[in-house]
């Protein structure tokens, strides 16, 4: 199907936006609550344009809402990383660092790519993601180089997300940017942050994969239930 690439990138953004939205009213401080909500809304905006474009390319009349609300988990193409539960704040920041560093390199190349629509979407989004990456970086530095407790949690968080990073760089048919080319700049950035925070790079492990093929963790179904139930119960409902 045409539009699979935009669909996969849109699903990454949509699912992570939903996850980050779960922090609203639960973050450690009001200011951080707002920061995470801002990041979630940036990602939601990206998801809307990407899914709209995926629907156009598919050519079967599905718009962003049809794709977001009327697909089941097997039809979602996001990487497993973004559907992982939030865990504690360190776990969320580890996931943010891994994903934002990847998404920054991706959009930075996509904006010079051959697909004009994706280039335009990426050109706008890359500034947003630059901030997301910086936000995660600041927290990984502070937690890694903070107290014994914050360091212990940051180490555990990195160990937990590390197996999910590999899927970001796996080949994707019809991708405008070969994901494998993003690994080197991603590694340079993320390893640089860990070194500055005095954290060891986790040992390489077998990559957890399957999301791009629709084979998800058990967590995605619950996330989608919350995301989709209102629209499915009241089709076409608006504010």
């Amino acid at each position: 199907m045409r539009g699979q690439y935009a669909l996969a990138l849109g699903d990454d953004a949509l699912v992570l936006a939903q996850r980050l939205g779960e922090w609203v009213a639960r973050a450690p401080e009001l200011e951080e609550d707002i920061a995470l909500a801002n990041i979630a809304l940036d990602l939601l905006g990206q998801a809307r344009t990407l899914l709209s474009y995926a629907g156009e390319q598919e050519g079967e009349g599905r718009d962003e809402d049809a794709l977001a609300y009327w697909r089941d988990d097997r039809e979602f193409r996001n990487v497993l990383l973004v559907e992982l539960p939030n865990g504690d704040f360190a776990a969320t920041m580890a996931r943010q660092l891994v994903f934002a560093a990847y998404q920054y390199e991706l959009y930075d190349r996509l904006r010079a790519g051959t697909d004009d629509t994706l280039a335009a979407i990426a050109g706008k989004a890359v500034k947003e993601v630059h901030y997301h990456r910086d936000h995660a970086t600041q927290w990984v530095l502070r937690l890694g180089d903070g107290t014994d407790e914050s360091r212990r949690r940051m180490v555990a968080a990195l160990d937990a997300v590390w197996p999910y990073a590999g899927e970001l760089f796996e080949p994707f048919d019809g991708a405008d940017v070969d994901p494998a080319t993003l690994r080197e700049p991603w590694t340079a950035y993320v390893h640089g942050v860990l070194a500055e925070a005095g954290l060891d790079v986790p040992e390489p492990t077998a990559a957890r994969r399957g999301g791009r093929a629709g084979l998800h963790t058990e967590h995605l179904g619950y996330l989608l239930a919350e995301l989709q139930h209102l629209h499915r119960s009241h089709p076409g409902v608006t504010w």
Binding site: E29, E31, I34, N38, Q138, R142
Partner: protein, 93 residues
């Protein structure tokens, strides 16, 4: 409840204007205070520059001294430059 220190936030709305106090927030350090200020106070395009200052570093005039400080200026009309025309182009005097 918060253990983070308080910071005062100053935003410059656009080039040529001065920074204006817009409010305060909590942050663990100065670098995070600038970022929090970006998220809390410039979400709708309010600014092009942010300053943050630890609230404890501000020395304020005392409300008890209000009369002595400010009342004497009230009746000195000769201090107000009202005797010349302001050019229409000067918007920010």
């Amino acid at each position: 409840m918060s253990e983070w220190p308080l910071w005062e936030v100053f935003i410059r709305a656009r080039r040529g204007l001065s920074h204006q106090h817009v409010g305060s927030l909590h942050a663990p350090d100065a670098a995070m205070a600038v970022r929090n200020a970006r998220d809390v106070y410039t979400r709708r395009g309010e600014g092009v520059s942010i300053w943050v200052v630890p609230s404890g570093q501000i020395t304020a005039s005392s409300p008890d001294e209000k009369d002595a400080f400010f009342d004497p200026a009230a009746d000195k009309v000769y201090r107000h430059p009202t005797f010349y025309e302001v050019p229409a182009e000067a918007k920010h005097l």
